[in-house]
């Protein structure tokens, strides 16, 4: 493997990849089309390359990346499960890709039916009364849910609820979503078993609190056994419960957020429902609500009148729109295909094997790594190299970088924040015992290397196309675009 030049560095004046249809209407001069004062004076400096340049560049570039199709990717809370190929194929059908969002509803009944049925399936899996598919990602779903919570309290003229409670183990998006939705956020500490500290919650939960955002199982991979007590405390004092569905891969067919008492939640279709992560997106973050929150859902919703499917914009209490159109439709197609392929039995087996795999991996490495909360985990768990760090000075970062030399992607590092030097590991159900054994053996070997040859870890990775990168330098002197040599950077 070699580093790949930038596409701009292949550029040669006059080289072309594009082909455009011939002009089949009378020609017109540019002045007749667009008056000079609206026009650009210099061309955008895009590369001038051939089609084979484009293909080779991006193909060679692609080889510099790790992905689920290449190897193990146990990134905690990201659910990097296998992305079934059939889902990619069906999402490429012209009957799905070649639809304009403003086509007459009678022409897109198949698309609307797919969305309607997906809403129904997700509502059943969640134990919620209605689902809205519009949010484009998990954090977008969170913001939608927070807006719904705000709208609910306002509809009851309950305007003093200005705070959202968030456990200290929560995903970083939770506090950010709370603030973006106009609330101040208050942190709830965790107890000695990794759950919400009930006494602290009891003290914090008053009539200025709009709701609690909770991930269950939480980011430690632990199910909060006190969920019924949490529910009682929050609801009895007028708050609402938000469920962050990032960790829903642990609970399908086993328990449901709706039954736990949550009022509003989101799923991540790109986690639990196998749609690919795309190098950072697109995702999809459908939001589910209980009956009392249905009036506040974003517009439009997809409805069925017994004969035809249609988009309903007539929702007077709606929070409004979270984005244009109806959501990331092609992502929905893949999630729909996944649910239809697996059915109820298949989805339950997914969660069972996800939990089995995580617990097996945990037991394989415990002893070599420290386990801050020694319980059975759900779909993920958190360990740290506390003893290794104390005795050798080796950090989580060094261990992670060394894992790259073993051909696997490291776990999530330094999160959750409540565990020092955390390694957050989520194997998912689509990995075999053999893969887990390979990974456990690698982690154990690295733990030994920390004592025998710590420099090997500090200098890792050794086998990747680039070594450790100067991130501090990148932030100090940001170079965020390529500039042609000799030209003036704008």
């Amino acid at each position: 493997m070699r580093l790949e030049p930038l596409i701009f560095e292949y550029s040669r004046p006059g080289r072309k990849a594009y082909s455009l249809p011939a002009l089949d209407v009378p020609d017109a001069s540019i002045d007749e089309l667009i008056p000079a004062e609206y026009r650009r004076k210099t061309d955008a400096d895009l590369p001038e390359v051939s089609e084979v340049d484009v293909v080779r560049h991006f193909t060679k570039l692609s080889q510099l990346n790790h992905g689920v199709d290449i190897g193990f990717y146990p990134l905690g809370s990201c659910t990097m499960k296998y992305n079934p190929k059939v889902n990619e194929e069906v999402a490429n059908l012209p009957g799905f890709t070649e639809l304009h969002p403003y086509m007459p509803e009678e022409l897109v009944q198949g698309a609307l039916k797919l969305m309607y049925d997906l809403q129904t399936y997700l509502a059943e899996i969640a134990g919620m009364d209605k689902i809205c598919l519009q949010p484009a990602a998990g954090a977008h779903g969170e913001l939608t849910g927070i807006n719904i919570i705000r709208a609910y309290h306002r509809s009851r003229n309950d305007t003093k609820r200005t705070k959202i409670l968030i456990p200290d183990s929560a995903h970083g998006t939770n506090p950010a979503s709370g603030v973006l939705g106009g609330f101040t956020t208050v942190e709830v500490p965790s107890d000695s078993r990794g759950g919400v500290d009930i006494a602290a919650l009891d003290k914090l939960m008053d009539d200025t609190v709009a709701g609690l955002m909770l991930t269950n199982p939480n980011t430690l991979g632990l199910f909060d056994e006190n969920i019924q007590e949490i529910e009682r405390i929050v609801h009895s004092r007028g708050g609402l419960l938000y469920y962050d569905g990032a960790n829903a891969n642990a609970i399908m067919g086993i328990c449901r957020p709706g039954d736990m008492g949550f009022d509003v939640m989101h799923f991540n279709l790109h986690k639990t429902f196998s749609t690919p992560h795309g190098g950072g997106g697109p995702g999809s973050g459908p939001v589910g609500v209980k009956k009392h929150l249905i009036p506040f859902l974003p517009v439009p919703t997809v409805e069925f009148d017994g004969k035809r499917y249609y988009l309903d914009y007539d929702r007077p209490q709606t929070i409004g729109r979270m984005k244009s159109f109806y959501g990331n439709f092609l992502v929905m197609v893949k999630a729909y295909a996944y649910i239809r392929a697996l059915g109820a039995d298949g989805l339950k087996k997914v969660s069972e094997d996800a939990v089995l795999n995580a617990n097996y991996l945990l037991r394989r490495i415990v002893g070599y790594y420290d386990l801050p909360y020694d319980r059975h985990c759900k779909h993920e768990f958190v360990v740290n190299p506390a003893r290794i760090k104390k005795e050798t000075g080796i950090h989580t970062m060094d261990i992670s970088k060394r894992l790259l030399d073993y051909g696997v992607h490291p776990p999530t590092n330094y999160f959750p924040l409540i565990v020092d030097e955390a390694l957050m590991i989520e194997p998912t159900e689509t990995e075999s015992k053999d893969t887990l054994d390979y990974f456990a053996d690698a982690l154990i070997a690295i733990a030994k290397e920390a004592y025998e040859d710590p420099e090997k870890l500090r200098g890792a990775p050794h086998t990747t196309v680039v070594g450790r990168l100067d991130e501090a330098g990148a932030a100090r002197n940001p170079v965020l675009r390529w500039v042609r040599e000799g030209s003036q950077a704008r």
Binding site: P298, I339, T430, L480
Partner: protein
């Protein structure tokens, strides 16, 4: 199907290592009252072949654009997506990766985003672009909240000529920040500069102007920009990136934040998504910019490499102090954009923008000559225009379906005052034959 590799023998061995007798024991900490006592009520699973068949049947219940001539634009455009885009996007090294948290094994995603950032800066004339937002509407909404934060002012002026769904999204986001969103009236299909002058004041944080606007009309951006600057308000320009093959880069007329719907850059229409939101800024907004940014740096061996940078703006570091909550973005759609722009190149982008303008002009002139029809607005246009119809535009759309024509977007849906008007978009895919068929269809209705 379930895509599970473990055998029952594996499972037994794993349970033994864990020290439990059954998988069920691993769920013992869930209160019994909360455990599901019944299977989920979902259709039974299917084999791969059955699934393929089912999905094809569902897809066939839609009429798609391979069978219709699409003159609907209104924020999403039927441009040709070249084969190279689909093939690069099908590389699973790209699509089965996630956010490049480990740069040593993520140079493909990082470098392609860096190339994307460069191209967006070239198109817009801005200093920096992020790795994408969810779509044009949410990008505009986040731009407003950032401008309000930086200027510490609480009023956002949004032109009525901005896409109706973008305006709605801005309102939704603004509600959480108690930003007062006011609409600038329009006149003759463009932002009313007279009204804008009256509305500007020391409390105005920003202006959102779309150019070309929702009606396809070009806005007087220089004049508007001058007014914004005089009042210390941030000009947020919402653009169609393909129009920038021919139109002045927003950075040159004084926009400080540029947003836009990136769908026209190599992304299929896909019933509204996934698309990508373009977001580019002047340097002064850099540290408030939402989303991911990729920077160039060096590795320990002295080689060039790319990393996520300036992450202290982001939610996973800053939590409640972050500038935005965005985490997952639309990276694969941004990859489509960078492959598409590489394929088009410097000349192709310009030629394509011109071709769309020429075809739009042809159709506009032909429709103007049909008795009873008139062009709605006099302002210059690029690829889209509105016409005033002698028949209800909803009826026009319906009756032309028989001819396999999607005639346009009836403006009455979002603008009661324009209920007689139809919005028509022309891309390079519309042939003269299709345009003539639309014209004869319209003629047949009067």
């Amino acid at each position: 199907m379930n895509y599970l590799p473990n055998t029952d023998k594996d499972r037994q061995e794993m349970l033994k290592t864990i020290g439990v007798k059954s998988i069920d024991e691993l769920f013992a900490d869930i209160p019994p009252a909360l455990r599901m006592k019944r299977p989920l009520n979902l259709p039974a699973g299917m084999s791969e072949w059955e699934l393929q068949k089912h999905m094809r049947e569902l897809a066939a219940q839609n009429k798609n654009l391979t069978e219709y001539a699409c003159f609907i634009g209104a924020g999403a455009y039927d441009h040709y997506v070249p084969a190279v885009v689909r093939h690069v996007l099908a590389r699973s090294e790209f699509y089965t990766a996630y956010t490049p948290y480990q740069p040593e094994v993520s140079q493909a995603v990082l470098q392609s985003i860096f190339e994307y950032q460069t191209m967006i800066c070239e198109l817009t004339g801005m200093d920096a672009a992020n790795a994408s937002m969810y779509d044009g509407a949410s990008a505009a909404a986040e731009a407003v909240t950032i401008a309000a934060g930086l200027t510490r002012r609480k009023v956002a002026l949004v032109s009525r000529t901005v896409h109706p769904e973008t305006r709605e999204t801005i309102r939704t986001y603004a509600a959480g920040h108690e930003i007062d969103v006011k609409e600038i009236p329009m006149k003759g299909g463009i932002t009313s500069v007279e009204d804008l002058k009256a509305m500007l004041g020391p409390e105005v944080a920003c202006l959102v102007i779309q150019h070309p606007n929702f009606f396809g009309c070009l806005e007087p951006m220089r004049e508007i920009s001058g007014l914004a600057a005089a009042h210390g308000a941030t000009l947020i320009a919402s653009v169609n990136p393909l129009s920038l093959g021919i139109l002045e880069p927003p950075g040159e007329y004084g926009a400080e934040i540029v947003v836009g719907e990136g769908q026209p850059l190599g992304n299929p229409l896909a019933f509204g998504g996934p698309y990508l939101g373009i977001f580019a800024v002047r340097n002064k907004y850099l540290r408030r910019m939402p989303g991911r940014l990729v920077g160039m740096t060096k590795d320990v061996r002295g080689q060039r490499g790319f990393v996520l940078t300036l992450q202290t703006r982001e939610q996973h570091i800053r939590r409640e102090k972050a500038t935005s909550n965005i985490c997952s973005n639309e990276a694969l759609n941004a990859l489509a954009a960078v492959v598409y722009l590489s394929w088009l190149g410097k000349e192709g982008l310009k030629e394509l923008a011109l071709l769309c303008a020429k075809k739009a002009r042809y159709l506009r002139e032909r429709i103007a000559r049909i008795k009873g029809f008139e062009i709605s607005f006099n302002a210059p246009v690029w690829n889209e225009f509105a016409v005033k119809c002698p028949v209800d535009p909803e009826k026009i759309v319906k009756s032309l379906l028989d001819r396999r024509i999607l005639a346009g977007y009836p403006l009455g849906r979002a603008y009661p005052e324009l209920k007689d008007h139809l919005l028509i978009a022309v891309t390079e895919k519309r042939t003269r034959e299709e345009m003539d068929a639309l014209v004869s269809g319209l003629e047949g209705l009067v």
